[in-house]
């Protein structure tokens, strides 16, 4: 029995329990004693008892059955083949799934050749290295799976009915059904809020394990201090640790591009925020502000494509024209192009953050300065900006962390060559580009070529995390000053 079917069945039992429970509670209220809870709370309590434990059992059973099946297949496979165990088990499992598409799943042809022909008709394609000896294994796996499914399904069904009956048996006029239901609700609300912690732990742990495996094959010093990035190909099954995984060129490229982006975004964003809050008339602001916010709503892939298709070639041709038709000094994919486009993307980030900060500077300081005869621009430059400076530094840091983690623009506009160069018109690559490069295409999960992406990811995560925490601390500290 498939898990989804069992789930629907349990849900149906739960709903039945709800309606019966509500009806019984209504019937129990004969007008004598005042009921403790309204009738639908009794229904919901019966529903919860019918579904909660049963679904928990179903989930546990599915996970357990899955790993049991895996170990069983692994045991059989190990007896017949000496190839990579994980890959072979995967092959058997996809073969088993493929067999289920047959008209007669229990009696497939004995050879892969015949099987592939039939499966191709059904629109199923299997990996080419699936072999004949796997067919009986897959059959056995399917049988075990169906047996386990039935046992689990029936157990879940029984538990669900028992739970529902127990819930219904508890219905009485003074039964405190509302308290129980509300306690469960509170529990689930709490569980939902802890998901943020779970996600963070998940991010750190998932990357940490892969990174540790990576560092078993490549030494941390050659990763963190290596100046050459040349991972070679992740040939399937090679598992060799040849290739060099130096972080330095990627880190340099990331920081360089982020720096160029900040050179564009900070002055432009800050000046537009200042103009908006200090100079612009109301009608101008009501038009220009949403228009600038549009920049924040455009997906980064669109910026990347603009840089790749339009801006990059245009800058290259422009630089060629400037040298009098000679060779262009700006490459189509360059630090400058990527930084410029990323800077424009970050303008609304800087301007909305600084807008908040500028508005937080007390009006009294502005009035005092203007009253002493300072012009508006003098007030801004000599009073408001110095007062807002810590906040602006925090905003710049937050923006920088966005720039470092940005992916699509650099994937399309910065290039893939891991150079170490100081020339902003050449191509350089970034951490995020390499994560994407190493993880698209066919994956061999235990080769260093793939695992390095997780080491890069965890580096990126901690760099941005540190910047964010630092920036938030500055912003918060500053905000308290005037409150």
């Amino acid at each position: 029995m498939s898990g989804f079917l069992v789930f629907l069945l349990v849900l149906a039992i739960g709903l039945a329990a709800f309606f019966i429970g509500r009806a019984r509670a209504l019937g129990a209220d004969t007008g004598g004693q005042k009921p403790h809870s309204r009738a639908h709370y009794h229904g919901w309590w019966a529903f919860l008892l019918a579904t909660g434990p049963a679904l928990a059992l179903l989930i546990l059973w599915s996970i357990g059955a899955n790993s049991y099946l895996h170990s069983q297949i692994a045991e059989r496979v190990a007896a017949q083949s000496s190839e990579n165990l994980g890959t072979t088990v995967g092959l058997v499992r996809s073969l088993a799934a493929g067999l289920n598409h047959l008209d007669d799943p229990a009696h497939p042809p004995a050879t892969m050749e015949a099987l592939n022909a039939i499966l191709a008709d059904k629109g199923v394609t299997l990996a080419t290295n699936t072999q004949d000896y796997m067919i009986p294994l897959a059959l056995e796996a399917n049988a075990t799976k169906s047996r386990l499914g039935w046992i689990g399904g029936i157990a879940t069904f029984i538990l669900s009915v028992l739970g529902g009956l127990y819930g219904l048996s508890q219905i009485a006029v003074r039964a405190r059904a509302r308290h129980k239901v509300e306690r469960v609700m509170l529990g689930s609300l709490f569980a939902a809020s802890t998901l943020a912690i779970v996600t963070t732990i998940g991010i750190v742990l998932s990357m940490l394990f892969q990174t540790i495996t990576f560092f078993e094959q490549v030494s941390p010093t050659s990763f963190f201090f290596g100046t050459v990035w040349d991972p070679r190909f992740a040939a399937a099954g090679s598992g060799g640790s040849e290739g060099q995984f130096g972080l330095i060129p990627l880190l340099a490229g990331t920081l360089y591009i982020a720096f160029v982006a900040l050179l564009v975004a900070v002055p432009v964003g800050l000046m537009s925020a200042v103009y908006m809050s200090e100079y612009a008339s109301r009608p101008v602001r009501s038009v220009v502000k949403p228009a600038l916010e549009l920049l924040a709503g455009i997906p980064t892939i669109v910026y990347g494509i603009f840089a790749l298709v339009t801006l990059g070639p245009w800058l290259r041709d422009l630089s060629a024209a400037l040298t009098g038709g000679g060779s262009p000094f700006i490459q189509a994919q360059s630090i400058f192009t990527a930084g410029l486009v990323m800077g424009v993307m970050l303008i609304p980030v800087v301007s909305s953050l600084s807008d908040d900060i500028i508005n937080a500077v007390p009006q009294a300081m502005r009035d005092g300065s203007l009253g002493l005869g300072a012009t508006r621009s003098e007030t801004i430059r000599k009073v408001i900006l110095p007062a807002a400076l810590p906040g602006i530094v925090g905003a710049v840091l937050l923006t920088a962390s966005r720039a470092i983690g940005e992916t699509m623009i650099v994937v399309l506009a910065a290039g893939v060559a891991a150079n170490l160069t100081a020339n902003p018109f050449e191509a350089m690559t970034t951490i995020t580009v390499k994560i994407v490069n190493q993880l698209t295409g066919d994956l061999e999960f235990n080769s260093p070529q793939t695992l390095v992406a997780f080491a890069l990811g965890i580096t990126l995560f901690f760099v941005t995390l540190a910047m964010n925490i630092f920036a938030l601390a500055i912003v918060r500290k500053y905000r308290e000053q005037y409150e």
């Binding site: 609300l189 809020s193 998901l195 996600t199 600038l292 709503g297 997906p299 339009t310 621009s377 995560f461």
Partner: protein
Amino acid sequence: MTGITAGSLPVAARPPRRDIGIKKRYAAEARFKLYGIAAITFGLAFLAIMLVTIVGKGYTAFWQTNVTLPVTFDAAIIDPQDKRASDPTVLVKANYDKLAQQALIAKLGIDPKDKQTVAKLKGFLSDSARVQLRNVVADDPSVIGKTVDVSLLASANIDSVFKGQVDLTVPEARRKVKDQQIEWMKSLAADGALAEKFNTGLFTFGASSRPETSGIGVALVGSLYMMAIVLVLALLIGVAASIYLEEFAAKNRLTDLIEVNINNLAAVPSIVFGLLGLAVFINFLGMPRSASIVGGITLSLMTLPTIIIATRAALAAVPPSIRSAALGLGASKMQMVFHHVLPLAMPGILTGTIIGLARALGETAPLLLIGMVAFVADYPTTPFDPSTALPVQIYMWANEAERAFVERMSGAIIILLIFLMAMNITAIILRRRFERRW
């Protein structure tokens, strides 16, 4: 001392006005103001140029050149051995290319025996003409033996020439479209047989190696599945978490830890969520690669902080008097939240959700890592089938060399931007319509 009049006092000469640099200061003021205007102009000009170039490159993608030909469904070509009654595969495997070619030869009035001229017809019609004709026969087998007007796709190269996107001054040898084909194209166009039609294929086709038969159909379905998953998961969990934090949570270490985590997750680069999805959902839990379910869950985790922050703001904006009134009338705390506070906060929550969804719709990087960069030609029937997403399809077209793909890509970007704009405008309208000032 009474006789002294004002006139008799010695009047000191007016001191020369001290130069306090007022002119300089006003000039600085004007300059400063100019910087502000320049900054805003720079941002808006960049936005305008970007949108104009993309729309300029992409609007032509919504039209596609079609050739309407009287095709004779000759039974001698489709089914030379007359076995179609017993063997239906005959109709699938028949030589439809030849039908299309013959129709074109007849229409252009070429001598069928002139092999050299006939050879030049290659690449005039799309390779998919075969499929189109096959579908006509599959829909209605009685068409065999008759002559019917069928509208066939022209090849991408002819399409580009017809739209005037190819520089015809380039010598013929370096062009993909030869002069002879252009002549034919012109004669057919003058005849009305060759014309641009609205490109429905852009919305219905999946991935394809030929530009004229590739579209965003599969990607749209994949994106739709993911948006549905994000909507359900992120909205439910986000609202539940916000209610707990805003209404029930005690001020303690655990609550602080949760809040710090949410704020940090909001700033984690999106690609890190892709790594999480790859390592946990695909590698550890064994979920299928390229499936929209994995993409949906990953994007949900990414969107969650946005929705939580918006929802908490909306809940906090509901005045305490509402809460006190509900509690005073005997509602339990749970009833107060779900019956009174939550409905009042709903417009704000929905606005935040739509903005979060819009961000998720345009997100590309995490999807690349969980294998959604796949060549998917068939529609996914469930969220567990391989699929792709709209921005990922755009990314894949960006890596194609052919010019016609750039047109498709820009067209897809226009569609994506229209979706995003519609979502954002809905959010703004919702906020305007239902926002309450307490």
